[in-house]
């Protein structure tokens, strides 16, 4: 069941995401389903019209976290291939910021894995967006990733 991650794609890009190509990449003759998630820029935030968004990332860590999510997907779900791409930089309304495609022999694991992937990405991958409005800009409210509370290292009693 375990599929090597090397057939997967994990990328941060600064150009428009080629969704068709990624969806094609994950498809194979032994599969029966592909589920994709297309996250794109909404024209409003908290009832204010958005002009555009600017994304930045801790790139090395973000890629490592995306690959970790991929490894979890292969462990948890009976899936075949994963493509997970996030775009950085300035994005206009309607442009795709994140795209995920998961293939599997059957639809249920593909749906479940795709859902798990986007939910986990939003919670744990160090990427930030700044929302630009007519009258200013704000860093979007985000989620605090779960982090270890304290090291398990024995402490000097001092």
């Amino acid at each position: 069941m375990a599929t090597p991650l090397h057939e997967d794609i994990y990328q941060l890009v600064r150009e428009p995401i080629n969704m068709a190509e990624l969806a094609r990449h994950v498809r194979a003759p032994e599969d029966g389903a592909t589920v994709t998630f297309d996250g794109f820029v909404r024209d409003h935030s908290h009832n204010r019209p958005t002009h555009y968004l600017d994304y930045e990332a801790y790139e090395s860590m973000a890629l490592a976290k995306m690959r970790e999510i991929g490894a979890q997907l292969h462990e948890k779900f009976a899936i075949h291939r994963v493509a997970m791409v996030h775009r950085l930089g300035r994005l206009e309304i309607g442009e795709t910021s994140v795209f995920i495609a998961v293939s599997a022999a059957h639809r249920n694991p593909a749906f479940d894995a795709c859902r798990f992937a986007i939910d986990t990405l939003k919670r744990t991958v160090p990427i930030w967006k700044k929302e630009y409005f007519e009258d200013g800009a704000v860093w979007a409210d985000g989620e605090l990733p779960p982090a270890p509370a304290a090291t398990s290292r024995a402490k000097p009693a001092s």
């Binding site: 860590m61 994140v98 160090p126 605090l144 982090a147 270890p148």
Partner: protein
């Protein structure tokens, strides 16, 4: 080897060495980058410092950072890390605001 002390002298030694300094790379993102006025820098810290102590060092310089402390997570070498993690020379540390990708 059999007679080696159970705790090796080093960064986490019980006995602090004569305050040697280490160099760590610190990265800033999102609003912290704006407050710090830079994306990264290499700074000196006391050997054995924790991430928390490093952050305090920054608060001294940039008091505005203090109010973000409770809404940050720390990372060391691209892994989320506890604030009491001890730093080694050459470590890459980041203070990460709540993430908002997607």
């Amino acid at each position: 080897m059999l007679l080696a002390p159970s705790r090796r002298a080093g960064y986490n030694s019980f006995v602090p060495s004569v305050s040697q300094s280490i160099r760590v790379k610190v990265l800033f993102f999102g609003r912290l980058k704006e407050i710090a006025g830079r994306a990264e820098e290499v700074i000196e810290a006391v050997d054995g410092s924790t991430i928390e102590q490093l952050f305090s060092q920054y608060v001294t310089r940039l008091p505005e950072l203090a109010r973000y402390r409770s809404s940050l997570v720390a990372s060391r070498n691209q892994e989320f890390a506890a604030w009491d993690t001890a730093l080694h020379s050459g470590d890459e540390v980041a203070f990460l605001p709540p993430v908002s990708g997607g």
